[in-house]
Subunit: 362 residues, 2 copies
Amino acid sequence: MQKGKASLLFERPVMIAGAASVAGQKEGEGPLGEAIDVVERDPMFGAPNWEQAESTMQKQTADLALEKSAVHRKDIRYLFAGDLLGQLIATSFGTVDLEIPLFGLYGACSTIGEALCLGAMCVDGGYADHVMALSSSHYATAEKQFRFPLGYGNQRPESATWTVTGCGAVVLTADAGERAREEAGEDVPLPGFYGPGRGRGVRITAATTGRMVDMGTKDSMNMGAAMAPAAWDTIMQNFRDLDADENSYDRIITGDLGEIGQKILLDFMKNEGHDISRIHMDCGLEIYDNQAQDVHAGGSGCGCAAVTLCAGILPRLLDGSWNRVLFVPTGAMLSTVSYNEGQSIPGIAHAIVLEATGGERG
Amino acid sequence: MQKGKASLLFERPVMIAGAASVAGQKEGEGPLGEAIDVVERDPMFGAPNWEQAESTMQKQTADLALEKSAVHRKDIRYLFAGDLLGQLIATSFGTVDLEIPLFGLYGACSTIGEALCLGAMCVDGGYADHVMALSSSHYATAEKQFRFPLGYGNQRPESATWTVTGCGAVVLTADAGERAREEAGEDVPLPGFYGPGRGRGVRITAATTGRMVDMGTKDSMNMGAAMAPAAWDTIMQNFRDLDADENSYDRIITGDLGEIGQKILLDFMKNEGHDISRIHMDCGLEIYDNQAQDVHAGGSGCGCAAVTLCAGILPRLLDGSWNRVLFVPTGAMLSTVSYNEGQSIPGIAHAIVLEATGGERG
């Protein structure tokens, strides 16, 4: 159902049937390490080059998400997926063996938000019973794509973020289980451990789609500043569309603003009369221990929000820590071509409302 | 409504409210020249570099599509758009002034198919009353992105295609007009000249989403061969899902297979028992006069299918030449990075069923 200018309410239950994350060693050594499903010590993932390493990681994550959801590959009707590389090559090669009809997406580091929104629309609208949303990034492919060869050993300013080597995949389902449960008034188990039949589950109840926002930031080593205005724009749109505010959510969690972007966002929100500092988190500040792991301003990349969602956010919705979260993956539309032409870096952010369901609240 | 493994039937009318195309001089001198809305003689579109030229062309096309549809910019709820460049920079900068919530897509030259499918889903599902689908390419940005600097003057083999400088934009609408007309039994005009109130209109009635298909083609100067297997896969899926065959459509129109890709597709289809040679067309063979314009195997690029749709296909559905067309934009997931690593070029194709409505058939 349309709500306001840019938001949708999903009236049919769009349940998360399962989710999986695979990441690299640095991410494994971070605060979320224990909760990441697979931490791969070989940054090449057994592949002959970085790009194929990222594709291998995607394939591994998709397979694991299917396994954890107890959904067969053939039952996934559509795949919504993307990565950071030119022409989505990590995704092209990573998803070819899945043989699932694919909608290739590019929203930079906001891609998992775009994928979840379109996937939820698809399930809510009855266009699919099961879809998968997936996005990935790899430190080495991203540095090669956007910055310098690793061997050059360039210095990173304090405002730079560290691209996450990681992939997150989420299976969404039309959740016949909950509907059956409501009708029968009893506990009908859903396939997958996120189903309400197994206690608590997580549901996507709303989404706010972002637009390109360009406030003129030109520093490719300060992506947080480029994305913060987009996060602010989308969160404010969500508040207006859903008559929401900082009291409507247990947490508002942006994608990869890092320390500098977070400050800008909190300032911008305060100027609008919303103090979200108490409930704001940023995936880029959750996935690493910034001081100990020397990542400077935080983590970033398509994998940052996706891995933190699977390993950090969904578990806390499931264990009862939180009931309602606004998840706002943020993307900076950086390209070396436009950067070298002296252009600014537009940002975009897509917001997803995640709600716990079932269990003691059911 | 789900149909078969990968197809959807749109039960609510998803009407094309209007469409516009803007292209370069070479395209203007081709067979579709007269029907292209704006032919721009300056390949720079007044901008300081090729990428900003492409962005300017996008903006111009979007504005024109709005004008021709008689739909206000603020009434377009979502924009589904993409281009060929790394990180979609033509789209990032081309759409920022529109301020429309954006789903950035990457399906290489199949992007307009992906955009129309998601846009139709969105309108059919009630998630938007109006959306825009848009894609573009520019000869000079594409050569710079994928091949050699223009000044190098490399020789093009006969199998190479010529990237179209062009952009096509289509406004989809929930068509209150037709519903009102059905209820009132009279001619209620729709905004935009494609509406049934003004005679014939064009409606999207079904879509088949493609998957990545990789048969191992490695020649970046023979994109037709890389994409033909994907076109074959999607058309066969459409036939199976919708119980259709070569008699179900007045035309089956692929995106940019060119001469070589067309031969492969026709052969593959014949092997399956379907002779589509009588009704097959390819946008890459429609947009230029291959011999006279020296483009070798044909046209290609995100703009190829999009411009041919707006300037060649929709007009012939509106004038009664055709009633039902299967439009199958095709994409080759080429990247210089994967190419230089010796990888193959996977292809993808998305199919859209376009039907004439209203007028003498209404």
